[in-house]
C-alpha cells in the first residue's frame, strides 16, 4: 500500500512537471489549454478593468493584480513562442495565440499604468472582453 502510494506520487509529480510537456511538437490539446489560459486571463482583466472604470477598487490592488495577470500572459506567450508546431493549422493558431497574448499583455499594462483612470479602465474593459472572445474562438477552432 505504502509502496504503491509512493510510486503514484512519483508518477504524479513527473506528470505534473513542466518538463512533461517537452520533447515534441505542441499538440492541439496543449495549444488549446494554453489559449484557454489567455481567454481566462483576459476575462479576469476585463472584470478588474470594469471595477477600475466604475471606481470600485483600490488603485494599488488594481495595479498589482493587473501586473500579476500580465505575468501569466507573458509566461504563456513565452511557452507558445518556444513551442514547435508541425501541423499547418496548429502553427497558424500558435502564431495567432502569441499575437493575442501580446495584445492582452499590452492592455493589462494600461491598467497597471493608470489604475485610477476611469476612462482608461473603460477602454481596457472593452478591449479585454473582445480579446477574451477572440481567444475563445481560436481555442474552439482547434
Amino acid at each position: 500500500m505504502r509502496g504503491r502510494s509512493i510510486t503514484l506520487l512519483v508518477v504524479a509529480f513527473a506528470a505534473a512537471s513542466p518538463l512533461s510537456g517537452c520533447g515534441g511538437p505542441i499538440t492541439p490539446g496543449e495549444l488549446s489549454r494554453s489559449i484557454e489560459t489567455l481567454e481566462s486571463t483576459a476575462a479576469e482583466g476585463a472584470l478588474l478593468a470594469n471595477d477600475v472604470a466604475r471606481d470600485r477598487t483600490k488603485a494599488t490592488f488594481a495595479r498589482v493584480h493587473a501586473r500579476d495577470l500580465g505575468d501569466v500572459v507573458q509566461h504563456e506567450a513565452e511557452k507558445l513562442q518556444d513551442a514547435e508546431a508541425d501541423q499547418g493549422h496548429v502553427a497558424a493558431a500558435k502564431t495567432n495565440a502569441v499575437d493575442l497574448a501580446d495584445r492582452i499583455g499590452m492592455t493589462l499594462g494600461q491598467i497597471q499604468t493608470a489604475p485610477g483612470s476611469e476612462t482608461d479602465g473603460r477602454k481596457a474593459e472593452a478591449a479585454l472582453t473582445r480579446l477574451s472572445e477572440d481567444a475563445k474562438k481560436l481555442a474552439d477552432g482547434l
Binding site: S5, L8, A12, A43, E44
Partner: protein, 405 residues
C-alpha cells in the same frame, strides 16, 4: 462573551487549516470549474474534521496526550519516524506557501515587492510567536481571519439560484474526472494533517481537562463550522462570477476580486484583511505543528505555555522551520501551486495521522467514561475508510485531470 473567546483554538485551526492560501484559491477554482454541484464535498470534509478534532480534544482532556504522542505510542519507531518525516515535509512546504501568500497579500496593499513582504511577514510572525501568549495568537489571527465571512455575505448578495445551491449539497454521481478531482480536494482540504496536530497540541497548551468537554465540542463544531461556511461562500461566489465569465482563478488577487464585485472597495479590503490573517494563522499553525511533532516524537519539552528560552530544542526547531519555509518562499515558487500539491499529496499520509486518534478514542482503558460512544465510533470508522479511499483516489485523479486543469 466567555464562550466567544473560548472557541479561538477551533477558529484558528479551521481558518488556518482550510481557508489558507491554497484552499482559498482551490475553492474558487472548484466554483469556477464545476460550480455548485461540488458543494456537498465541503460539509463532508468539515464533519470529518469535526469528528476527529472533537475526539483528539477529548483524548487530550483525559490523557494529556497530543496526537503525535499517540502516533509514537501506537506505531513504534519505524512507522512513527516515517509519519514524522512525511508530515514535516508537507507541513514545511505548506508553511513556505503561507509565507509566500503573506508576501502577496501585503503587496496588494503597498506594492513594494513580494519578496520584501515575505521577509516582513517572517519577522511579523516570529514577533507574534515570541511576544504573544498562545491565547493571544489564537484570538488575533483567528478572529481577524473571520473577516473572510464577507464571502458568505457576497455569495448571498450575488443572488444565487437557491434551488441549485440546495441541489449542490446532495451528492451526485458524475462521470467527469475533473468533478471528482475537486470533490476529493475539497474533502481533503478540510482534513489536512497539520490541523489536527495543531488542534490537539493547542488543547495541551490550553491545559484542557475532563471539565473542558463542552469547550472542546464548541471549538470543534463552531470553529470548524465557521471555516466550512467560508469555504462554501467562496465556492458559491466563484460559481456566480467566474464560471459564467470563463475565468479560472490562479492567485489570491483573483479570490479578492470576488468580494469587490458586490461590495466594491469595502469588500476588497475586508477580503484582503481576512486573507492576511487567515494565511497568517495558517503560517502559525504550520510552524507550530512542525515543531510540536518533532518535539513530541523526540520526547523534548515543548509548548508556548513555557518560556521559549527554557526549551531551546523546541524553540530552535520552531525557528528552523520558519527559516526553512522562508528560504523556500524566497525562491519565488508559486505559493498557490505549492499548497495545492501539498493538499493532494498529503492525502496518502492522512490514514497514518487519523488512525491513532480513532484507536485511542475507542480504547476504554485509556478513555474511561469518555470513550467513544456508538455514534463517534461509527462516524470515526466511516471517515477512516473514506480517508483511505481518498488516499488511493487522489494521485490517480491528479494525473487524470492534469491537476484539475
Amino acid at each position: 462573551m466567555k464562550t466567544i473567546f473560548s472557541i479561538a483554538l477551533g477558529v484558528i485551526a479551521a481558518i488556518g487549516g482550510f481557508v489558507d492560501i491554497g484552499d482559498l484559491v482551490f475553492n474558487a477554482q472548484a466554483g469556477s470549474s464545476v460550480g455548485t454541484p461540488a458543494l456537498w464535498a465541503t460539509p463532508v470534509g468539515v464533519v470529518g474534521i469535526m469528528v476527529f478534532a472533537e475526539m483528539s480534544g477529548r483524548i487530550v482532556a483525559v490523557s494529556k496526550k497530543p496526537n503525535f504522542v499517540l502516533v509514537k505510542e501506537r506505531y513504534g519507531r519505524t512507522l512513527s519516524t516515517f509519519t514524522l518525516a512525511a508530515s514535516l515535509v508537507l507541513t514545511v512546504l505548506t508553511l513556505a506557501a503561507e509565507l509566500g501568500g503573506l508576501g502577496f497579500a501585503l503587496n496588494y496593499f503597498f506594492d513594494v515587492s513580494v519578496s520584501f513582504f515575505v521577509l516582513v511577514a517572517l519577522f511579523a510572525v516570529a514577533a507574534a510567536i515570541y511576544f504573544l501568549p498562545f491565547g493571544g495568537i489564537e484570538r488575533l489571527f483567528g478572529y481577524l481571519g473571520l473577516a473572510l465571512l464577507v464571502y458568505i455575505a457576497a455569495s448571498i448578495k450575488l443572488d444565487p439560484d437557491w434551488g441549485e445551491i440546495g441541489r449542490g449539497f446532495v451528492p451526485e454521481t458524475h462521470s467527469a474526472a475533473v468533478y471528482w478531482y475537486f470533490v476529493v480536494g475539497l474533502i481533503a482540504a478540510a482534513l489536512m494533517p497539520y490541523e489536527i496536530y495543531f488542534y490537539s497540541s493547542g488543547a495541551v497548551e490550553e491545559g484542557w481537562n475532563p471539565e473542558d468537554m463542552t469547550v472542546n465540542r464548541t471549538n470543534a463544531f463552531v470553529g470548524f463550522g465557521l471555516g466550512g461556511l467560508i469555504s462554501v461562500g467562496i465556492l458559491v461566489a466563484a460559481a456566480q462570477i467566474f464560471k459564467p465569465a470563463g475565468i479560472s482563478p490562479t492567485s489570491l488577487g483573483s479570490v479578492a476580486l470576488l468580494t469587490q464585485q458586490p461590495y466594491a472597495e469595502l469588500g476588497l479590503i475586508l477580503a484582503l484583511i481576512g486573507i492576511l490573517f487567515a494565511v497568517g494563522g495558517a503560517t502559525i499553525d504550520t510552524a507550530f505543528s512542525a515543531a510540536y511533532n518533532l518535539a513530541q516524537h523526540q520526547g523534548w519539552k515543548w509548548g508556548k505555555r513555557f518560556k521559549l528560552l527554557d526549551e531551546p530544542r523546541f524553540t530552535l526547531s520552531l525557528a528552523g522551520f520558519l527559516l526553512a519555509g522562508f528560504a523556500i518562499a524566497e525562491t519565488g515558487v508559486d505559493p498557490v501551486e505549492l499548497t495545492e500539491y501539498a493538499v493532494i499529496f498529503s492525502i496518502p499520509v492522512l490514514p497514518l495521522t487519523y488512525l491513532p486518534i480513532l484507536l485511542v478514542g475507542n480504547d476504554r482503558a485509556v478513555m474511561g467514561a469518555h470513550v467513544n460512544g456508538p455514534l463517534a465510533r461509527a462516524m470515526g470508522w466511516f471517515y477512516f475508510v473514506l480517508i483511505c479511499l481518498l488516499a488511493l483516489a487522489a494521485p490517480v485523479l491528479f494525473i487524470a485531470t492534469n491537476g484539475g486543469g
